[in-house]
Symmetry: C2
């Protein structure tokens, strides 16, 4: 049985702690957080919860805190034995180099406590210099998910950047669409079936093969009238930049 | 039984013709297209298929062609009786004003022949000056879908613009993400679970309440390093414009 400590009480910590309940061969020894209040939810999931400086050593310590908190946290861990990993998409593995055994365990997903996810479907990106440690992370990865892959820090950096386009930017496009509906007292529900189909198509196809719309067709009349229709300058900029990017992308391909 | 002619053989025509097979009280009399070849697929769906000038009058004529083809098509319809509608998101209703009875029947969805859709879930936006015609379109709408709404040309224009953000722009964001993966020989499948969750969350929430990421946090270090990481200037522009839009959007709200 591999004992695990989790440091952090946010969304990633929560989902890993939950998934660990059904992971054969791994036991969640303790969860450490900054306050009793943040630890409340974890009392049913871990044998122990407490402040960081009260932690006992574990075979594997998972640091699931915000990127800019990693440095502070690692200064305050009261032991150096075992394997230490972080769960960040963008922090390099080297931020943990003060520990002899260190690596990365990055679940590529956008977590929130309110939305339950099927952990089996989440790609887990693992990294370590040491083969023995890779094997431990692979073991944990496959105990939680069907998709585990060794990914270097450089590759993970690229995935994290791509994830910004897949999640952050698309969600802001949805937000602008919602605001445009609000403006004319139209329900955003009218657009949700289209939103769903957009995702379903991109799940089954290379997205560049299913692009449609006025920018792809370089339909300058519609583009002009859309820009005129937008009264908000920020929305206009997004419209212009994305349309220009699309027109140039497919123009080059013709 | 209301007889229907469809003019056009593209994706919208195909999906309406298919859905009409199960619509009580409506019968698909004929589908008109430019060539025998384009009409092939419709032979099992309509009583008759043929060139536009061979059409017999029907109670309802659905013009499902590209926006810039509507004007040409209506000059060549060999009758003026019955109700005429187009299926366009952006063309105003008035393009059909040469017909005494005219209106709009706009299914708000992105259709492609390869992807079957549940027509019952598709919002149908209808419009006509005449109450009797609205009733006919409502009847057809509810025979095909559970979501039928009277929408003015001005409102439809806004929905169509919002649809560009929901579908065209998000799909291009997916395309950039795919290209970033290709660049480092990473599989886009690693990002598909995130893509799916992004949509699931926006289907269940107001998108502005679930925004995350470096631009929302105004995490300038990550933003700078991401921009440096992008070697393609068009990708850089999209990144900068969307990040600035997000930062300003949530900055104002704080």
């Amino acid at each position: 049985m591999t004992s695990i400590n989790i440091i952090g009480t946010g969304n990633v910590a929560w989902h890993i702690a939950t998934a660990l309940q059904n992971a054969n061969g791994f036991s969640l020894q303790a969860v450490a957080g900054r306050s009793e209040n943040s630890l409340k939810d974890f009392k049913l999931l871990a044998k122990d919860t407490g402040l960081l400086n009260t932690l006992s050593p574990a075979a594997l310590t998972i640091i699931a805190v915000a990127d800019d908190a990693i440095n502070k946290v690692i200064k305050n861990i009261p032991y150096t034995t075992g394997l230490f990993v972080h769960t960040s998409g963008s922090a390099p593995m080297s931020v943990l180099s003060q520990f002899e055994n260190h690596g990365v365990f990055y679940p590529l997903q956008s977590f929130s406590k309110e939305v339950s996810v099927d952990f089996k479907e989440i790609p887990i990106c693992i990294e370590s210099h040491d083969k023995k440690n890779v094997a431990i992370l692979e073991g944990l990865g496959f105990a939680l998910s069907e998709k585990v892959k060794e990914i270097s820090s450089k590759e993970r950096e690229q995935l994290h950047l791509a994830a910004v386009f897949v999640n952050n930017f698309t969600n802001h496009c949805f937000t602008i669409a919602q605001d445009l509906c609000d403006e004319k007292a139209l329900s955003f529900d009218l657009l949700r079936p289209l939103l769903e189909t957009t995702a379903i198509k991109a799940l089954a196809n290379r997205p560049d093969t299913i692009q449609t719309g006025p920018a792809k067709r370089n339909d300058t009349e519609t583009l002009k009238s859309h820009i005129k229709q937008l009264s908000n300058p920020k929305q206009q900029e997004v419209y212009k930049t994305l349309s220009a990017a699309i027109t140039s992308y497919y123009g080059k391909k013709l």
